[in-house]
């Protein structure tokens, strides 16, 4: 007993790497030792019965009983496992370094693999929706846009910087297969993101791809799923104007003689079938009874039925992914192959994507690790479908009783560009058929886009000694995309253009656009490279002090080439085309004046270059106090020369205090409590501006008859990045046993030097210039709570995300015209000093005139029906600012219930305290452009109606100012607040399943249902405000299987 022995051992990680500066503590005595550069340690005198506790930063501590250590001389390895495997030990990735979230001073939001795989989608970014605290997805535009912690710019991009592994991803992010992604870290504050310098102003999203490990047996996994969506819910559009109402208006206008001026100009004005019937009735070709019959039969049609039958289908998406990974002591690899096939809801539109992802690491020499990664994506999308029919000829929407096919399903012609009854007969038989049959067009169309993206990365990492590592990385990305839009001679587009440029004299026809097809070929090529050299230090001493630092240089180039080629008389089979005279002006058919042949050919090339240097360091004392600082300087060819020369970096500083480590801390129910504080700067760039003086050439003019040039862009050597200062205060906490944990964050943003047009001192020779002139302030809070509500056979996990954000323009120098221009939909940024950039501004509303149903507004604070005066008002007294169209309060509640092998989770999202403008009837648009709205049926028709409706009476002739006033008045503002059941995921998992000779380690069947609809909403108009007046996406259902061998 009590025999003292000596112990020799080595501490390594799972990758066989020695862990220097690991701590070895003898449990009974508390004596501690540190490992050397090779991970070795020796303890001279130790009791045979003692226990060692071995720990290292980023690893799980390991307990070793001394008696188990073989003696004397053979090397005993103590393997420490990566701490990331530990619950709650979250490793975040900044793209420059990985660190434990627990020791960070910045605001990081980590989305792990489980959460990312809860939803099903072909792209990775949409999987962040509803699970990322502080990230808002706006869907009011066709493509969703992301806002991290509100708005930080007025005129530059709002999208956060997307980093894939260590470098910004320049290609189309939809090329990244979500199955290749391990986790995502969102960098929210300056301490987290300012290392990304001039491009980090909107926040940074770091995507970490899957990696294999050393000493891991080969593993094969499969993920396969199918998603089916319903047809779009066209009948749920509350604004749809019925055929009966539309025809009623057409008859009204006909009686007023509205169409009479249009009759002589069939090449300018399209007329609807009802108007054509009324004309025939007037000329006696049809009896009133016949006409009535025809109109009644037309009124029974609803174009939406035809849309759903002929233009739309249930969308289907099939996704397959295979992954093979493994590794031995010196090499590891992962190879993923993915294939997606997508049939869109619009018939004729489809997409395919094939992706290959491979990453291998190996250690040719002690201390040296080489990593090579290749990401390849091929994609093809076909866009032959027709989503909606735009008649043209002044009409923006199709009349509601349009028919696309006859009773036998044969394609029917629809009014397009020119009056149908005119093009039917004009030109005799000399012109090409001029009719537009949408259903035929879908079959004739040949529009597809093919893209390829290859990204290759090589990195070398060398461990110089026990605390210094040097790293060099290079990445090259090349993406090409070619869009082939071929309009054969049979297509309407080709026939119509050829006809328009034809001249018929007697029996001869001259065609200035040759017969044959038209090709629009677009080619884009992106090439980018990045080089980085970095040194990192990781040292711990005296058991109390720890330092973690990186410093490096980086250079990047991004080049974009674009060309659009247009060919006439093109034959896709022979690749022949005709030469066209683009210079001469030709008479257009039907007295439409004259014009030269459209020439879309266009070439452009852009080049962005950056040179950067950065440093980031953190020092911790006793694992209780941490301070951090970072600085980065970027120079670029898009900044002014003065900006590049000044050595002014973007910097940040942060501090963290783990209160719960303090000796005076005694709150037992809250064993983990940490305070964080950070301050720093981020930048945002806009490569569409030039700091250089540029000139524009003009053709020779009077009186000199010399070509000349004028200044186009004034030189601005001070042109620089937009600067966003952010202060962040965070609290992280966890209750006993981690039943409840979470974080509270408060932030204050001040964006200065925002690019905006500003008046200049005219002495400079320029009166206005887009320059670093505007400011924006923002503040908000992000709160996240995780609770294990029930921890039994049934487990109930709840995650609440809550965000609050407001923005205000604090400086904007340009005065626009009248304030009467401000009212709008509030969906685009309208910078007004002192207001939210998305403020919803309306004309003040005084109701309807009880006698006439005229809307009443205000001019200079006095009630008025002077509509041109109202819309041109220059007084805030006549306007009302009602909140913002961006919800300041939003978040999600994700509940997960699991029982044995089953798990079900539902994500509920909510958005509060915002407003939107509903569409309404604008008579001028209805008359001239066929844009109808069901509010027509609610219009004022007789005195007394004003008590029940705000929709003005219909007047003839229509007054567009009267329409604009009502449409953008307070009366059409609705509260947006809503609660939505975003999605549900159901899964059944089984571990270790033996089928014949094959052992399946893990098998999961899952189902995912999304777009389930709104649970509660404030507006009574039946509108889903999050889709900006368009029809929300239909419900979709996914079923899948995941297996791991």
């Amino acid at each position: 007993m009590c025999q003292k022995i000596s112990v020799n051992a080595r501490v390594i990680n799972e990758e066989n790497e020695p862990l220097a500066a690991a701590t070895v503590i003898i449990k009974n005595t508390g004596r501690s030792f540190a490992t050397d550069a090779n991970g070795n340690f020796t303890i001279k005198e130790i009791k045979f019965t003692d226990t060692l506790i071995v720990s290292a930063v980023g690893y799980l501590p390991e307990t070793v009983i001394v008696s188990r250590i073989p003696r004397p001389e053979s090397v005993f390895n103590i393997i420490l496992k990566h701490a990331s495997k530990l619950l709650n030990e979250v490793i975040v990735n900044t793209g420059y370094q990985q660190m434990a979230k627990e020791r960070a001073t910045g605001s990081f939001e980590k989305i792990d693999n489980g959460l990312l795989n809860r939803s099903v989608s072909t792209d990775i970014i949409s999987r962040l929706d509803g699970v990322t605290n502080g990230l808002f997805f706006s869907k009011v535009d066709a493509a969703p846009s992301l806002f991290l912690r509100g708005l930080s710019t007025l005129r530059s991009g709002t999208q956060p910087l997307i980093v894939v592994d260590n470098f910004p991803y320049e290609g189309d992010i939809s090329n990244i297969n979500p199955n290749d992604v391990e986790s995502i870290t969102v960098l929210r504050d300056a301490a987290a993101s300012s290392i990304w310098g001039a491009r980090s102003g909107n926040g940074v999203i770091v995507i970490t791809t899957k990696k294999s490990r050393y000493n891991q047996p080969a593993r094969l996994s499969v993920n396969d799923n199918i998603t089916v969506s319903q047809k779009p819910p066209l009948f749920h559009d509350p604004g749809f104007m019925s055929a009966a109402s539309f025809i009623e208006v057409e008859k009204y206008l006909f009686d007023k003689g509205y169409y009479d001026n249009q009759l002589p100009y069939p090449m300018y004005y399209v007329l609807s079938p009802v108007v054509e019937i009324l004309l025939k009735q007037r000329s006696g070709q049809l009896s009133p009874a016949q006409a009535d019959d025809m109109i009644t039969s037309l009124s029974k049609h609803d174009v939406r039925n035809d849309y759903l039958e002929y233009l739309y289908r249930s969308a289907a998406l099939k996704q397959t992914s295979l992954s093979l990974s493994g590794g031995n002591a010196t090499i590891n690899y992962i190879l993923n192959i993915g294939y997606d096939k997508n049939l869109n809801s619009i018939i004729g539109n489809a997409g395919d994507r094939f992706t290959v992802y491979s990453l291998s690491s190996f250690k040719p020499l002690p201390g040296l690790e080489v990593q090579a990664a290749v990401n390849y994506a091929w994609s093809k999308s076909v866009n032959d479908g027709i989503g909606s029919i735009i008649p043209g000829g002044g009409k923006s929407a199709i009349y509601p009783y349009a028919r696309l096919a006859d009773d036998n399903g044969n394609a029917l012609a629809v009014e397009k560009d020119y009056r149908l009854s005119y093009i039917d007969t004009t030109g005799g038989s000399l012109l090409l058929d001029w009719k537009y049959k949408p259903l035929d067009e879908i079959n004739l169309a040949d529009n597809h886009t093919v893209g390829q993206d290859i990204t290759a990365r090589l990195s070398l990492k060398y461990r110089i000694n026990d605390f210094l590592t040097a790293e060099a990385q290079a990445q090259y990305e090349r993406a090409d995309q070619s869009a082939h839009n071929y309009f054969s001679q049979q297509t309407y587009a080709a026939r119509s253009l050829i006809n328009l440029y034809s001249q018929v004299t007697g029996n001869t026809i001259t065609r200035n656009i040759p017969l044959g097809g038209i090709l629009d070929q677009t080619n884009g090529l992106l090439s980018a490279y990045s080089l980085r050299a970095q040194v990192s230090a990781d040292k711990k001493w005296n058991n109390k002090n720890a330092i973690n630092a990186v410093a490096g240089f980086e250079t990047r180039q991004l080049q974009n080439n674009f060309q659009l080629i247009q060919l006439y008389g093109y034959d896709d089979n022979l690749l022949t085309f005709a030469n066209v005279d683009y210079i001469s002006s030709f008479p257009l058919y039907g007295n439409r004046g004259s014009a030269s042949v459209p020439d879309q050919t266009d070439l452009s090339q852009s080049l962005d270059r950056y040179v950067s240097a950065y440093v980031n360091a953190a020092y911790s004392y006793k694992e209780t106090y941490t301070i951090s600082a970072s600085a980065r300087k970027d120079a670029s060819n898009i900044f002014g020369v003065n900006t590049n020369q000044k050595w002014v970096p973007l910097w940040s500083a942060g501090a963290a205090w783990k209160l719960s480590n303090e000796s005076f801390y005694h709150i037992s129910w809250l064993p983990f409590l940490k305070l964080r504080l950070s301050y720093g700067y981020n930048g945002n760039i806009n490569s569409s501006l030039s700091a250089l003086s540029t000139i524009q050439y003009y053709p020779a003019g009077s009186p000199t008859n010399l070509p000349y040039a004028a200044l186009r862009n004034a030189p601005n050597p001070d042109l620089r990045w937009e600067k966003i200062a952010m202060k962040n205060i965070g609290i992280d906490f966890a209750t006993a046993n981690n039943r409840i944990n979470g974080s509270l964050e408060f932030y204050f943003k001040k964006a200065t030097d925002l690019l905006s047009p500003a008046p200049l001192d005219p002495t400079t020779g320029v009166t206005q210039l887009v320059m670093n002139a505007a400011n924006l302030a923002g503040r908000g809070a992000d709160i996240k709570l995780n609770a294990l509500v029930i921890d039994n056979t049934i487990k109930w996990n709840a995650t609440l995300l809550f965000s609050y954000v407001t923005n205000k323009v604090t400086r904007y120098l340009l005065q626009t015209g009248n304030k009467g221009n401000y009212p709008g939909t509030g969906y685009s940024i309208s910078p007004i000093e002192g207001k939210d950039p998305y403020a919803l501004i309306s004309y003040k509303w005084a109701g309807l005139d009880p006698q006439t149903g005229d809307p009443i507004g205000f001019v200079s604070g006095v009630q008025s029906k002077n509509y041109s005066g109202i819309v041109a008002t220059d007084s805030w007294d006549d306007l009302v600012v009602k909140g913002t169209t961006r919800p300041p309060l939003f978040g999600n509640l994700l509940n997960t219930f699991s029982w044995k092998r089953f798990s079900i989770s539902a994500n509920i999202s909510y958005r509060f305290h915002y407003y939107f403008r509903r569409n309404t009837i604008m008579y001028s648009s209805l008359f001239s452009s066929w844009i109808g709205n069901s509010d027509y049926d609610k219009r004022w028709q007789a005195p007394g109606d004003e008590k029940n409706t705000s929709v003005p009476s219909m007047v003839y002739p229509a007054n567009s100012n009267r329409d604009r006033f009502y449409a953008f008045s307070e009366a059409t503002v609705e509260k947006g607040d809503l609660v939505r059941l975003q999605d549900i995921n159901i899964s059944w998992t089984i571990e270790k399943l033996k089928i014949k000779n094959v052992t399946v380690k893990n098998l999961q069947l899952y189902s995912y249902i999304s777009n389930l609809g709104i649970i509660w909403k404030a507006n009574k108009a039946g509108i889903d405000p999050d889709y900006g007046g368009s029809i929300p996406p239909p419900k979709s259902f996914s079923f899948g299987i995941k297996a791991e061998l």
Partner: protein, 449 residues
């Protein structure tokens, strides 16, 4: 490891050559001026460089009046200029002149980056001379409107105009001293003289003769009559041709042609309807001062109904209200004559004047004028100067200059709807406000008015 070191070295080298790396343009289609052709094209921008000169002076001079009815239709700015209102603000003129300065500076900065070869040196010199000329020519206009009249004794203490000599829009505009303002004009023009060809085929392009002419004007405004006379003479040595008005068709709506033989450098003012042939009414004393045999009486003036006369003799050859304010030989004869008189060379002074007037009178009717002394010569010459240079923008500058001399000081008066307005000699209102937005943005000192 070697690879790593190589890469680090490569990166460091890259950073060292960073400037060149970052000089590449971000959008290939951007035309960043870089060639002599670009510079030429910038200076060939006629509307910016030759055609936006101020008409403010012509609206305030004593050669004309407008009717009450017409006055009431004018914009506030035009009314203010006409009655010399204290509130008058003329901001477009400032903007347009500095726009020309910007173009000239951009031309100069572009030329600085081009190393001329033996084949291009003459073009390079001509373009540099042209840019300097244009800059000085614009500064001259600005100084005549937005700074006090030059007075050698006090010029160093008084404020001139901001002298913008670079294209950097971030540079704060600061007013220079009045002395520095005029010295800049002189030095730009002197350098231009060295660089420009003696004459150009196109008179809207600056030439050595034009630079001499501009120097003569400049020194005249500075009341350095020795230099002014010398430069007028240098100018006339390169071009002294005068039109014989007997060969003109006085009945034409404008008897003169654009870029006629007297024009050395062509520039015109912005159009102002107040000055058009129907609205501008010639001061009756001025009109009567032309002899019946003086062809200018019919070549310059059009009889309008009511016995009033409008001006039709625009040297730019058009009937528009954009009047010629460029440099022509007749003005050079008059500067030469005035300077000779002021320098006591009565004979030469009268010779210069008579050489000019001979061509203005009906053939054989002109009797050469004589003067008994320098003072009389000066009086005759200044009278003839006013009569020759109607609506050439010179009268206002002459009033500013001559007001300092009690012999020629004059109080101007206007009468609108019975209300009398006066402008005494040397009044602050001879100097215009710097546009208010310029003051607001830059904080520079405003003129007293």
């Amino acid at each position: 490891m070697n690879k790593l070191i190589t890469m680090i070295i490569a990166t460091v080298l890259l950073l060292a050559s960073c400037k060149k790396y970052l000089d590449e343009k971000s959008d290939k289609s951007l035309v960043v001026p870089a060639t002599l052709q670009d510079v030429q094209a910038l200076l060939d921008n006629y509307s910016t460089m030759n055609a936006t000169y101020p008409y403010i002076g012509s609206q305030g001079d004593d050669d004309f009046y407008v009717t009450d009815t017409y006055f009431n239709t004018l914009s506030v700015t035009n009314q203010d200029n006409y009655i010399w209102s204290k509130d008058a603000e003329n901001k477009n003129e400032w903007t347009y002149m500095y726009r020309a300065v910007m173009a000239a500076n951009l031309a100069l900065e572009t030329l600085d980056k081009i190393t001329p070869t033996s084949a291009t040196i003459s073009d390079w010199n001509r373009l540099k001379g042209s840019a300097l000329f244009f800059r000085a020519y614009a500064f001259y206009q600005l100084a005549q409107y937005y700074a006090l009249p030059y007075n050698k004794a006090t010029a160093a203490q008084k404020l001139g105009i901001p002298l913008r000599l670079s294209t950097d829009v971030n540079e704060l505009s600061v007013r220079s001293s009045l002395e520095n303002t005029w010295q800049q004009i002189v030095s730009d023009l002197r350098m231009a003289v060295q660089l420009l060809p003696a004459q150009n085929t196109e008179v809207y392009h600056p030439s050595k003769a034009a630079a001499f002419g501009a120097l003569a004007r400049t020194y005249l405004a500075m009341e350095d009559y020795v230099q002014a006379g010398n430069y007028a003479d240098s100018c006339l040595q390169l071009n002294s041709s005068l039109m014989d008005y007997n060969s003109l068709n006085a009945a034409a709506s404008n008897p003169f042609t654009r870029w006629n033989t007297e024009v050395i450098f062509s520039s015109v003012c912005l159009g102002a309807s107040m000055l058009s042939v129907n609205n501008w009414k010639c001061d009756s004393l001025l009109y009567q001062s032309y002899d019946q045999n003086d062809l200018r009486k019919t070549c310059f003036f059009k009889a309008n109904s009511g016995g009033v006369y409008g001006f039709k003799g625009n040297y730019d050859g058009t009937t528009s209200s954009s009047f010629f304010n460029g440099i022509a030989t007749d003005e050079m004869y008059l500067i030469k004559a005035e300077c000779q008189a002021r320098n006591n060379n009565v004979t030469e002074a009268m010779n210069a004047l008579n050489d000019l007037l001979t061509t203005r009178w009906r053939a054989t009717t002109f009797v050469r004028l004589t003067a008994s002394d320098a003072d009389q010569a000066l009086r005759i010459i200044l009278t003839e100067r006013r009569k020759e240079l109607v609506l050439r923008s010179t009268r206002w500058f002459d009033l500013r200059r001559l007001n300092k001399d009690v012999r020629f000081a004059k109080t101007l008066t206007r009468k609108i709807s019975g209300q009398l307005y006066t402008l005494p000699p040397d009044d602050n209102r001879y100097t215009h406000y710097i546009p208010f937005n310029v003051i607001a943005i830059t904080g520079m000192q405003q003129n007293e008015r």
